[in-house]
């Protein structure tokens, strides 16, 4: 199976000090290279077009209830980002779910990563395959099966079922991301610490934890995005509990207020800042 498949190729680091020299690929016609560069620029424009649209429309003052066509410039939306109470409440619920489920998933996922990265044991291959399965299963199947489980057990759908679901899909991501980053660490450092008289607890906090911290940070950022963003699995486990995307969708039948764009822009800016800060702290050559 895809041993470290689905998640990590996406977010795993490219190892530093790569052999690929830039000089070597300078061969080829200058026009070919220019064409490729022009194409790359177009792809970036394409990737950012909806984001630009979202940010620009935070300054729109829509005539109707849908903030989808341009009617004029205003700063009102930024002055009243929390004007839509239901939307703000849903946004708060999303943050709450994200924080709680990421905390649980980070602990459980990191423990799995440590187990897989530093121990040799029967069943480690099976565990790796098992971890990939939730990522190669379509979200709708994950959501539908949780729905069946909760229904069969007469569990009322709501905040806790949403958290359970979010922890479920984050655990694999965390385990695989952290594992990809700690692979190849020199675990004998722990032995060294203990030989020098450190207690196991002290060894963990002073040696192991700092080593895996960058991986955990990357996983946290990723899981945060996954949790805040999730629609499909949440749709099946939410009951009457509306997260931000769910509230946006539910309200779309009657309105699409500019505050949606404002809140989305805030999340975007904060996430990009965190991404920049966390990558600035990392050694060069990592993604």
């Amino acid at each position: 199976m895809m041993a470290e498949g689905a998640a990590p190729p996406v977010f795993a680091e490219a190892e530093p000090g790569r052999r690929g020299s830039d000089k070597a690929v300078r061969a080829g016609s200058p026009w070919g290279r220019r064409l490729l560069t022009a194409f790359a620029v177009c792809v970036y424009i394409y990737l950012f077009l909806p984001l630009i649209n979202i940010v620009v429309f935070t300054f729109n003052s829509p005539k109707g209830r849908y903030n989808l066509s341009w009617d004029g410039f205003t700063l009102d939306n930024w002055l009243n980002p929390f004007a839509d109470k239901e939307l703000t409440d849903a946004f708060g619920r999303s943050l709450q779910v994200a924080v709680v489920s990421i905390t649980i998933a980070l602990v459980m996922g990191s423990l799995i990563a440590i187990a897989l990265a530093r121990y040799r044991f029967t069943g480690s291959k099976v565990t790796e395959v098992f971890l990939v399965l939730p990522l190669t299963t379509p979200e709708i199947v994950l959501g539908a099966s949780l729905y069946q489980l909760f229904l069969g057990r007469n569990v009322t759908l709501g905040r806790s079922t949403v958290v359970i679901a979010h922890v479920m899909f984050c655990v694999s991501f965390v385990a695989l991301t952290v594992k990809a980053r700690v692979r190849g660490f020199d675990w004998s450092l722990e032995d060294a610490a203990m030989d020098l008289g450190a207690s196991p607890m002290r060894t963990f906090w002073k040696v192991t934890f700092p080593l895996i911290l960058p991986g955990i940070m990357a996983a946290a950022l990723l899981s945060f995005a996954l949790s805040m963003d999730d629609y499909i699995i949440t749709d099946f486990t939410k009951g009457e509990f509306a997260t931000f995307p769910i509230q946006v969708n539910n309200a779309f039948r009657v309105s699409f207020p500019p505050q949606v764009n404002v809140l989305a822009t805030i999340v975007l800016v904060v996430s990009v800042l965190l991404l920049v800060l966390s990558s600035a702290r990392r050694r060069p050559g990592t993604v």
Binding site: G20, F48, A115, E139, S145
Partner: protein, 289 residues
């Protein structure tokens, strides 16, 4: 990779790894494996009326109607997802190649930019596309002047495919980039020295070596695209219904659990089969980035 781990204090312990694994693995057993088993059971049940409880009685009819009634929707979903995957390769590969070969010291920033769209909600990005592609939008209304009032982008299959391509594009670019980054590009110099053209060197050296990334990316795009229903909801029309739409509607609106469960299981089996075939041909090592 496993080989050099051996020298780095990797240890053998009877109980410690299982202790570390158990919380997460138990969570996944309870909330991933058990639910899938329950879904399987539901798919073989019957539910006489909307509010009756489903009873398990080996109702294989749910599966035959999954194919007879919804075969067309399955085909459409896979065609859309497949087209989106191909488009994502055609758009994503050149970008990944450009970053890997021309990025220089900006590589990290350039690849980081690819991830940025992830940080806005997928739903809101899709709604943004619906606003961009709407009939009254400048570009589209210009095209309508040229091609006539019948021309539109929104509510067509191409809008849905475009949305799927866009939303999962980063999943294609990143693994391709990672596999391109592993290539020693001096190989292309060697090929050129031996008389190969630039294109020949690319086709015979770089492309084969980057295929694992292309395949990984294809799965990562195809799987979520095949089960999606938001792009069809916001960018499509009733004619572009995907299997996800049917499953969602049957579960959460019509409460027809057995049929919905059978459809989900069929979707899962087809995708799992694809993943297995894929790993059979490409092995696991190529993917372990």
């Amino acid at each position: 990779m496993a080989a050099d781990d051996d020298s780095k204090g990797l240890r053998t312990s009877r109980f410690a790894p299982y202790g570390l694994l158990s919380p997460g693995v138990i969570w996944l057993l309870l909330f991933f494996l058990v639910p899938v088993a329950m879904l399987l059971k539901a798919s073989l049940s019957t539910k006489p009326s909307r509010f009756a409880n489903p009873t398990f009685d080996w109702a294989w009819g749910n599966y035959s109607s999954a194919f007879s009634q919804y075969g067309g929707v399955f085909v459409r979903s896979f065609v859309y997802a497949g087209t989106a995957t191909v488009l994502a390769i055609l758009i994503g590969y050149p970008l990944a190649y450009w970053i890997a070969t021309r990025g220089g010291r900006w590589k990290n920033l350039l690849i980081g930019l690819v991830v940025v769209p992830f940080f806005t909600s997928y739903l809101i990005r899709t709604i943004a596309w619906s606003s961009i592609l709407a009939d009254q939008n400048a570009v589209v209304s210009g095209l309508r002047q040229v091609f006539g009032e019948d021309f539109r982008i929104l509510a067509t299959p191409w809008a849905v495919i475009g949305g799927l391509t866009y939303n999962f594009m980063s999943f294609m670019i990143l693994p391709i980039y990672v596999s391109l980054e592993k290539i020693d590009f001096r190989l292309t110099e060697a090929a050129a020295d031996l008389g190969s053209t630039t294109w020949g060197a690319f086709r015979k050296v770089v492309l084969p070596l980057s295929l694992p990334g292309v395949f990984a990316g294809s799965l990562l795009v195809f799987i979520p695209a095949a089960g999606d229903y938001l792009n069809a909801r916001y960018l499509g029309s009733p004619k572009t219904t995907m299997i996800g739409t049917v499953v969602q509607n049957k579960f959460l609106v019509q409460f027809d659990y057995p049929q919905a469960a059978a459809l989900s299981i069929v979707l899962m089996v087809i995708i799992t089969a694809m993943v297995l075939v894929y790993s059979k041909f490409l092995g696991t090592e190529g993917l372990a980035v």
